[in-house]
Symmetry: C3
């Protein structure tokens, strides 16, 4: 039913976003499949988030339909009671607990506005690998929140985010980008477990929600980090800033239009993914009305993305061996694929489409 091989492309030793903190109240459980593995994610009475394999040891019923009892989780089919380490402390109708009555517990935590689950071995869980926005404080932004399910594998969405030249075509209606946007290549560099992509548009009046009456140098920079996390900010700077481009340019040195978007692509199965995002202006440059305008525009654009990527997935499925022909804009994608490949213990993991050989060139 679910082919496992394409999922081997993804690094298990990483924190995957499982949802927004706000969406899991105290005493509730929810289900989400990550990397083909159904998980029960729940928040005990103490407010802590836990993640279990979502199948009761007894008869494989979903624990995500379970009931939180303090900091324990009760399977609501036949009533087995789980401690927060995945062990069973009660089986109705009997006193002894067989040793195999337990489920795997995954390290889980909260960071930024998200719940994260570590999909590798618990002993390897490393909180230093949670992505940290560099040079700005997310709490100063006015955010809107959303998520979209894709009938497509996560890698195609990552590819989409690693090459934003597509906004010139796919989003010409929603973001009103000019075709010229795609004529210039962005500045691409490797960072720790990811890629940094930076773009200057000089002497412009801006575009979409970031219009300016006086000419400015518009700047956009994002890090795209394993296993599929995008941290991007945009802002306008005085004309001339681009010419003396500094890698240490700071968001609050901008003159206006500062906004932030945080996005995460979580592989559910080899043919489905959940895309989480939140976005908004800095409180200096916008309010809830501006945030709502940005979210409305994003909703249209993300719908354009999904329609294209799901159609692309259908075509890939019909002829999975078909090779891609990379373009100059694929540079960030190529670097990122190389990083993922190196992180994988299994060096020759099966790639999801014929793109592997051409994408995975070292730079």
């Amino acid at each position: 039913m679910i082919g496992r091989d394409p999922l081997r492309w993804y690094t298990r030793n990483a924190w995957y976003v499982a949802g927004f903190s706000k969406d899991l109240p105290v005493g509730k459980a929810m289900g989400l499949t990550i990397l083909g593995q159904p998980l029960a994610i729940w928040r005990g009475a103490d407010g802590m988030v836990r993640a279990f394999d979502d199948r009761c040891a007894h008869r494989l019923a979903p624990l995500s339909k379970g009931r939180c009892e303090g900091n324990r989780l009760r399977c609501m089919y036949h009533g087995l009671l789980y401690e927060d380490d995945g062990s069973v402390s009660a089986v109705p109708g009997q006193t002894g607990i067989p040793p195999q009555a337990r489920v795997r517990a995954y390290p889980a935590c909260e960071h930024l506005d998200w719940i994260w689950v570590w999909m590798g071995e618990a002993a390897d869980a490393d909180h230093d690998l949670l992505p940290v926005p560099n040079g700005y404080n997310p709490k100063e932004f006015v955010f809107g929140y959303g998520q979209i399910d894709y009938a497509a594998e996560a890698r195609l969405i990552c590819d989409n985010l690693l090459d934003l030249s597509h906004v010139a075509f796919l989003h010409s209606a929603s973001f009103q980008s000019e075709p010229e946007f795609a004529d210039r290549l962005p500045l691409v560099s490797a960072v720790d477990r990811g890629v940094r992509v930076r773009r200057w548009i000089e002497n412009t009046h801006g575009s979409s929600t970031r219009r300016s009456t006086a000419p400015v140098d518009a700047y956009q920079t994002y890090d795209f980090l394993v296993p599929g996390i995008l941290l991007m900010w945009s802002a306008n700077f005085p004309t001339g800033t681009a010419a003396k481009d500094s890698k240490e340019i700071l968001p609050l040195d901008s003159i206006d239009g500062l906004s932030l978007t945080l996005q995460a692509v979580t592989p559910m199965t080899d043919q489905s993914a959940r895309y989480f995002f939140y976005s908004g202006p800095h409180c200096r440059d916008g309010d809830e009305a501006k945030r709502d305008a940005m979210m409305e525009m994003a909703a249209q654009a993300f719908s354009e993305d999904r329609e294209m990527i799901e159609a692309q997935q259908v075509l890939i499925n019909i002829d999975p061996a078909r090779r891609i022909v990379p373009s100059a804009h694929d540079r960030a994608t190529t670097i990122y694929s190389g990083i993922v490949r190196k992180l994988n213990a299994t060096r020759f993991a099966v790639a999801p489409c014929g793109s592997k050989e051409q994408n995975d060139v070292d730079e």
Copy 2:
């Protein structure tokens, strides 16, 4: 499309419920797949029910879309006419009938309020294997009728019915059972081609539709018989009856709350089943209003069952080799599985999930 192996778990030499008699009028045909075999089930002008393989010999069109002509069935694609033994007596446009123009006819009959089809060899059809309620007359009850389709294999529904401890958790809202219900084990014994499960709740004021003002000993007993038939009655007895428990206890010796439910689980494919049920109070203890209240409660509970079992099926499909960890409440399930295994000519029939080895322990 339809894997056959899991269906080998089910005994072919058995009567399977194909529907309610009331739902198949004279002169009508209907389709139902049993054990992966599409059947056309029809009632001729003489009122007798017949069952054919649901594919015309000519071009494999469904005979369940056919037209009854007296005691014959006409294929409504190109008009072949079938006698009630499955032979063809007319082919439009020609006079001769080729000998291979015939379909398999299955023994069919009516019993209780159901239509039954024998899925084994016709020569082996044995009317003595139709289940007979013991010690009560179904005609004295005021019944409501229903059926539910499951996207799950029948065996999981049988497991559900063989261990009613789940009502304490899964049906805590609908049946308002107490968790304590699951703390006590029922009395389980083997009967001919099935299992008998009996439960006393002593000195109780009852639960759900069977509440009592004075304390009573509440009794519930059911036989679960091959290939998936449940015959259950419940009633209240004077306190003290449980203490001197007699296996020959009779329904009409009860003081009130006597009700009956007859249920049948029919495997359609290896991933789908139809669940037929009818239930109601004895006319001594209830009327149509009480029957309606019972059916409403059952509708909610059966919906809880279906949601859980379909989710369980999804999880089993993701990891079909995963073993279960049986509990003390699985005793009836284990005995029943042993009976099924012995009935099967193919001793090592493939089990639908990893539960085989652990379930099929002889007792």
Copy 3:
């Protein structure tokens, strides 16, 4: 996902109908899968229709979501620009064009009211193989247009059209045919790349939309041509015409009731097909009101066909090896299958159901 073998039954060296000309305006692209191959079909500024493989060479995005720019097609994911021969003339962000950046272009044309695509090698495309109505001018008819998608393989729809005896049963409600219609065999003969089927009903008052007050000899004749094109006209002639049946009988020699229907069955995948049809009376014998009445009747009948054929497909899928038992009315089907088989380079192409051996008897 898409099994290829059953599609090998269909001749690639043929023109397949891809849609109605009226449905593809200048400057628009549309997608259609033919023989398992997704195609982007588009009409440039010059009004000419082109057909490409529907996957951009870059990252396999659908070109059917592309934008026509003059007589070029732009991929709207990352902006590659295609010439009408399938070569790429621009890749945003770079100057060089890699040689493998191209897609296959298929010969396409317009004929009758349809768009046609040649699915074989382009060098073999032969416009003489476009079907030409013989003895009548389609422009003199008042047409209605329609199309239906089937969840069934095209061959089953071809079988349906090659044996119209089914109207006596399947369409007894919609076309109000008598069962006697199926008692008589039509006159069947081979024509170039197809079969001709002719039927006289002598001394009749007609049926369905072709009723007559005085008795007439009703005539119906159609050619069914590779790869699934039906050209049929019907009309009433003076009584006695049937007795002196002439193969050169002309439509306009009829006294009334002259109507025409053109139909095409296009295999999309091995389990899906699109059925295109247009029909109407000759302007001598009917107007738009009569055309609308014919179309309404056809809509009901085609819905009966689809329901039966999709059910037939389900049954075939459950037991693909099951053989059919041909009847006398299968003669046209048998001849047509022989023609298809001879056209196929691969003589022993896999047939879609067990019918091959019995159908493919030479006559």
